[in-house]
């Protein structure tokens, strides 16, 4: 149950998360804290159930699902999968000690080198290695691939 007091104890990020995921209130991403709290309280009041004049006890299998806790991490859908069948499409890309997960599935190794040149400090002459083996610049990345651009070995010692 949301009250003004317990909402005021939350951070703006937490309040925005309540709006977005719990109550599905849109347009709160740039609003001030007091505006967000007002919107939450208004929504809660509007959505309070009216006393049911004909209560029915449901069988276990018919019981309404009240909440689902789930975490999805997906940017696009696999082309070969059915519509709406979401999947992780991130590829680990690294150069030397710099590394990150990027949404580059379907892109070619050569274009990823250009795209991430400044982010990962990829040398212009650096070759790409996919899953531990040299790959051509035209290789198309698949979900779960690991792409490395070779960084020169340290010279001094």
């Amino acid at each position: 149950m949301y009250t003004k007091e317990n909402l005021e104890e939350k951070t703006v990020a937490e309040l925005r998360s309540i709006c977005r995921y719990d109550l599905e209130i849109s347009g709160m991403s740039k609003k001030r804290k007091d505006v967000i709290i007002g919107a939450i309280l208004d929504t809660v009041i509007q959505r309070q159930p009216i006393d049911n004049p004909h209560p029915v006890t449901l069988n276990k299998s018919q019981e309404k699902t009240t909440a689902i806790e789930a975490s999805f991490r997906s940017n696009i859908t696999k082309p070969e999968k059915k519509f709406g069948d979401r999947t992780t499409t991130l590829v680990k890309v690294s150069c030397g000690a710099n590394t990150g997960d990027f949404s580059v599935t379907g892109k070619k190794v050569g274009s990823v080198a250009e795209m991430l040149r400044e982010v990962l400090n990829v040398d212009r002459l650096s070759r790409g290695i996919v899953n531990g083996e040299y790959a051509e610049d035209t290789y198309e990345l698949k979900p779960g691939d690991s792409l490395e651009f070779i960084k020169d070995a340290g010279v001094k010692g």
Partner: protein, 224 residues
């Protein structure tokens, strides 16, 4: 266990101290350590290198380590490694630590190890604020991890000169280095040694980057 430490500069002078402490107190088997470097310890090395007195690095370090660790047999080889003398330096079954400051020596040592049946070569190098360590393992004539040149064309086509080919003036002009980068390489080489002795060579290369406070280990397949 026969250990060869080639290069006793910023990395080698630190690494030899750390690895010998471990070998002296934590390893049961008979250990022989050969220290190899033709260079001289002098004033300009004070900020990054650990020696008790001036003189040839391999000989001074041998004396330093003998005084600290009496369970290890030490030898010195006061010359720079080149294609001619490498036969005297590296033998079958050796565990070689390469801590040099040029790719030409790395290329020579890697190529030589490729012709041996059983050898372990751990190479470290750094630039100013970053660096890497490579593990090359060869058993019964088969590469278990890629050699130093396999994924590093800059080592395969090394264009720098061997220290033995350089004049005194060229030798004295070295690029600035960060002590902590040397220290990082020495530490990761110790990790590599520990993992190899445990039979773990999944990761054959490790990179570090000091400004980003990051480190990443790489799995590389052996080229057929």
């Amino acid at each position: 266990m026969n250990i060869k430490i080639i290069g006793l500069g910023g990395v080698g002078s630190i690494f030899s101290e750390k690895i010998c402490r471990f070998l002296n107190y934590s390893v049961q088997s008979e250990t022989n350590v050969t220290l190899i470097d033709g260079d001289t310890y002098e004033n300009k090395n004070l900020e990054r290198q650990e020696f008790s007195q001036f003189g040839n690095k391999s000989e001074v370090k041998k004396r330093d380590l003998m005084n600290k660790f009496n369970n290890i047999d030490f030898e010195s080889f006061p010359y720079f490694v080149n294609r001619e003398n490498i036969l005297e330096v590296i033998n079958e079954e050796d565990l070689v630590f390469l801590c040099v400051d040029n790719h030409k020596t790395r290329q020579i040592v890697s190529d030589y190890c490729k012709d041996l049946e059983n050898v372990t070569l751990i190479n470290g190098g750094n630039d100013f604020e970053d660096g890497n360590v490579q593990i090359y393992l060869r058993k019964e004539g088969i590469d278990l991890t890629p050699d130093l040149c396999a994924y590093h064309s800059e080592i395969r086509r090394a264009e720098d000169m061997l220290p033995s080919e350089m004049s005194c003036e060229e030798l004295s002009q070295s690029e600035p280095q960060l002590y902590f980068a040397n220290l990082s390489v020495a530490t990761i080489m110790c990790w590599a040694f520990y993992n190899v002795t445990k039979g773990n060579y999944k990761y054959s290369e490790v990179y570090f980057d000091i400004p980003n406070m990051s480190l990443d280990s790489k799995i590389r397949k052996v080229k057929k």
